[in-house]
């Protein structure tokens, strides 16, 4: 009887072990299934992703505060140390800007008169909102940020994200109170650009490093370190003339660009709607409120 019980116990143990192995294999298969789902139904995955981001946004906002406070304290200390020098520099800049303001005002008046003469139809005014960066979801495989837009926002997929220094990226998905920013350094980012001063057209291609590459440049163009890169406006994704960065290295046929935007000091970004329709319309991707 004891032997029968022992044999029964052993076979149930073997069965349990087999079921466990089957369960593990099923989970691995489910993970592959999720990958296929991600490729097959991008919109469903995007909706689920942004819904989850909306749910976790309040906690992410709270957890981003300690780092923010630490950085502010460090910045205040730095500023206190260099305040006298900065004061002098700012006074000189202010005087220059006042002079430029006078010239700009005159040019504006001339522009209005000329437009009126030519019956010029202007582009729609760009609208913008400010948003706080609450999560840095970047790593060595993706480069993106989450920004908290609040509940009453007009942010749309494809809107351009700027800082005072230049282009940061564009909105890749929008939720109820968060928006995901795909950075220009992301491996999936491709931006039509121009290299000044020769106005050579090229594509800025992200590669998940800090310095994205310039590709598809015409063969006969000579690029130098320090040349400025701006958006070209091609394909209607980004308007023309927005500052991107400068050429930082040209070696072995690889041209690297240093973005103007310092990603390490991002707290508030500006999300601008230029009214461009370069991307395919994707209304389902925005979660309805």
């Amino acid at each position: 009887m004891a032997k029968q019980h022992g044999a029964g116990g052993s076979s149930s143990f073997q069965l349990k072990s087999k079921l466990q192995r089957f369960g593990l294999a099923a989970l691995v298969a489910a993970a592959f299934g999720l990958m296929l789902l991600g490729k097959a139904d991008i919109l469903l995955v995007e909706k689920g992703r942004i819904l989850f981001n909306d749910i976790t946004a309040p906690v992410l906002m709270l957890l981003s505060k300690p780092a923010e406070v630490t950085v502010r304290v460090m910045q205040n200390l730095h500023e206190l140390v260099s305040i006298r020098r900065q004061n002098a520099v700012l006074r000189a800049e202010n005087e220059k800007l006042n002079l430029i303001k006078l010239d700009t005002e005159q040019l504006r008046r001339e522009n209005e008169e000329l437009r009126d003469l030519m019956k010029y139809i202007p582009l729609p005014e760009a609208s913008s909102v400010s948003a706080r960066v609450i999560a840095d979801t970047g790593n060595s495989f993706v480069q993106s940020l989450l920004a908290y837009t609040g509940y009453h926002h007009t942010v749309k997929k494809g809107n351009v994200v700027l800082t005072g220094e230049g282009v940061l990226g564009r909105i890749s998905s929008v939720g109820v109170n968060v928006a995901r920013i795909l950075l220009i350094t992301d491996i999936n980012s491709r931006i039509p650009v121009k290299v000044e001063p020769m106005n050579a057209q090229a594509i800025l291609s992200g590669d998940n490093t800090e310095y994205p590459q310039l590709i598809s440049l015409p063969n006969n163009v000579k690029i130098s370190v320090g040349d400025r890169v701006i958006t070209s406006g091609a394909a209607g994704v980004y308007p023309a003339g927005l500052p991107i960065g400068t050429i930082v290295s040209v070696a072995d046929g690889i041209i690297k660009v240093r973005p103007f935007v310092n990603r390490n000091h991002l707290e508030i970004v500006r999300i601008v709607d230029y009214g461009l329709s370069g991307l395919l319309a994707d209304p389902i991707c925005e979660v309805s409120r």
Partner: protein
């Protein structure tokens, strides 16, 4: 004045449930906290996958409170929070958990340094798997150098991230001994 009913069945039940789910709650906190902006120059390009640490730790020391399904779920949550293709972290965490749990009988009685080395070996394998799957998904290779730098940061951060997990494990151990 009425005293707080700490011995009431409801409170006891809730406390037991909280203890049971505490490894998962701590792991959730680590997941969300790891996404906070750090403002460190160059960090975002090499930010490591800190979630590998609690998944490894619970697989080795407390698999009864943190199963492979939990690892699967946290992988899915990380996929949703980041912009990585769906299923990548899900697969990576599941495989990593299976590997870590398979080494449980070798690692669970070893000193901290040996466990750290064990983590280093397993996470390097997983790093390579992660890099390969991402490359297949995107159709091009991300620089392995930045991923490797992230791996080194992960190893250096292991004692810091594992410390709260270890404190919680000791607390749960004491509580279990106390109940017995």
């Amino acid at each position: 004045m009425r005293s707080f009913p700490v011995n009431s069945p409801v409170f006891t039940y809730l406390a037991e449930k909280l203890r049971f789910y505490s490894p998962k709650l701590l792991t959730l906190f680590i997941l969300l906290f790891s996404l906070a902006p750090t403002y460190l120059p160059g960090y975002s390009a090499v930010r490591p996958n800190f979630m590998l640490i609690p998944v490894f730790y619970w697989a080795v020391y407390k698999p009864e409170n943190f199963s492979v399904i939990a690892a699967f779920t946290f992988g899915l949550m990380q996929d949703l929070l980041e912009e990585t293709p769906l299923g990548v972290n899900t697969l990576v965490f599941t495989v990593f958990y299976i590997l870590a749990e398979s080494q449980r009988r070798f690692l669970s009685n070893k000193p901290f340094s040996s466990v750290w080395v064990g983590f280093a070996v397993l996470s390097l394998i997983i790093l390579f798997l992660n890099w390969l799957i991402i490359a297949i998904n995107y159709g091009r290779f991300s620089p392995f150098g930045t991923a490797f730098v992230g791996y080194l940061i992960l190893l250096a951060a292991y004692p810091v991230v594992v410390w709260p997990c270890a404190r919680l494990y000791l607390y749960l151990l004491d509580k279990n001994d106390g109940d017995v």
